[in-house]
Symmetry: C2
Subunit: 325 residues, 2 copies
């Protein structure tokens, strides 16, 4: 039989109300009383019923993290960084991998509305979910454009596009293509494309962005990229908006006998620790995952306390100099 | 002002008790009553207070997942698979990345004892945490040996070791080393080593296991592996107990001019989707992540319902045939 609040009160020779006050740090209490109660809690190995205490305080100390999937190294590393930092602040983390399921994303948002979580970090790609229209929700978006009321934390996507494109041009490539998701996607990653196109034009070169649905099965993607390389032997440089696609292109170039970097220059994007360990030869733009997590939590804390935040936080990127460009 | 249970009762013209019964699916209720209550809920956009309902039912519908870190592709993909399947059963997932912090692992276990989660999936490496001694907790371990009362779900590590070692020998290697964690680690992965050593001896070859702390910083690991390759030019085959180390060896072999597979055969372990996409040329043993997740959830469901389970569930591995062996 698990010990109850009652047992703690009896052993400590105080009232149940006093035990409750000690647990919830409420009202005036002498140090002697606090010590007596904690001594009794320890002796009985008493575990307060957390759900009941949460109801009383109207706080769950849970933060929801809603991302496409932790199976992707970028989101896996981001979630790990968020979890570690939130844990240090006394929060536990509830995850939701929405993938492309707006119903699932909506279900998680309803959790927030029914007060199962105190705040939410969102980085999904689903569109038009009406729950986001509720004002003043403690939500922060990472690398996603939501609505005017939700602050966004992102890395400097435009600068990343400039650095990548400039490097390809400086190394002598003229026929450079960019691979990115569909333009209508509500993500700041589209700024990488804007930067690529601007830099190309500044150098008198013709930009050519190859749009690809990032949810295509890998086999289909491989077919498309293979055809692209076969049909366009004039391509000298590729700036890919993610490292997975860049890795696929490396593999295809090898199969087709196109030497990297001698005949084809290649730069990826994201630069996770996983990619840098598994494929250190890939030159890529590194997103500051740890700083994104730190900033998102600061912004969320402000929102939870009702403090007004900026609309947008842009963090610097870095270049990982591999051998492919 | 958010609508209350009271408002729903008034609009539906039923008692508060009836609304509560409908919400908790308790007692006899006519379909007409159920329909009236749900119509009122919808009209008022009423969100039941979930924390209060959980207290009533003494269930949280939360499952905790306690793993070293979702930043690692194996645990990231495993967590994604568990989350997806648990979501389909109406559970939400609370994650804890324990890393090497027994204090953090203990804190998560205390959550379970204080009923914040209904069950727990554990795959951490910390030792001697006394909370695991509580009998009959709804816990399942993945790829970790806990204690006699906690069922374990794992892939066929011994078979994986046999397949890898046999392949290296069949391709002509005789001086084959195995890289693994310290033997005292309580993980079934040590069976890969047992299998390697047995197969080597069966073929009249001398096994040589190189023990390495998997938490070493990457730079230090790289130094050690580089020295190993330089000091032992006789090595013809390496069976690495994880793909990250195998990727590091690929890179070092390239730097040192040791041609893979002509001069050095290499096989990794885990074979995550991430590794197969980023580094498809690496031959590796594939753990059945999706099946591990499905089985772990079945076992956990049994434990939560008080059904006796087996002590151990061993699932088949596969070989990914890359170009390195």
């Amino acid at each position: 039989m698990a010990p109850k609040l009652d047992d703690v009160a009896k052993l400590a020779q105080v009232s149940k109300t006093t035990v409750s006050r000690v647990l919830n740090k409420r009202g005036y209490l002498s140090q002697a009383t606090i010590d007596k109660v904690y001594a009794a809690i320890k002796e009985l190995d008493y575990h307060p019923n957390v759900v009941a205490r949460q109801l009383y305080k109207n706080k769950t100390n849970l933060i929801g993290i809603l991302l496409p999937t932790v199976a992707n190294p970028f989101f896996g590393e981001l979630t790990a960084a968020l979890e570690m930092k939130l844990y240090q602040q006394g929060f536990k983390v509830l995850i939701g991998n929405s993938m492309n399921d707006p119903a699932k994303e909506t279900a998680y948002l309803n959790e927030l509305l029914t007060k199962q979580v105190d705040g939410l970090v969102v980085g999904t790609h689903n569109q038009g979910i009406k729950q986001y229209e509720h004002r003043d929700l403690p939500i922060v978006a990472i690398d996603r454009i939501m609505n005017q009321d939700i602050p966004i934390v992102e890395s400097d996507n435009y600068r990343g596009g400039v650095v990548a494109t400039t490097r390809l041009i400086d190394q002598g490539a003229q026929h450079i293509i960019h691979i990115n998701g569909p333009r209508e996607l509500a993500t700041p990653a589209r700024r990488r494309r804007d930067a690529y196109e601007a830099v190309m034009r500044e150098h008198g070169l013709t930009p050519s962005t190859y749009e690809i649905d990032f949810n295509l099965p890998e086999g289909r993607k491989k077919q498309l990229f293979r055809q692209l390389l076969i049909d366009h032997p004039e391509i000298e440089g590729i700036f890919s908006s993610n490292d997975t696609d860049a890795a696929l292109i490396m593999q295809l170039a090898h199969e087709l006998g196109r030497k990297i970097p001698d005949e084809l220059l290649l730069i990826g994007y994201d630069g996770t620790k996983t990619v840098r360990e598994l494929l250190p030869s890939l030159t890529t733009i590194v997103q500051p995952i740890d700083d994104l997590a730190t900033t998102a939590i600061q912004v969320l804390n402000d929102r939870m306390q009702g403090i007004t935040t900026k609309k947008e936080y842009i963090l610097p990127i870095k270049l990982w100099q591999g051998d492919t460009a």
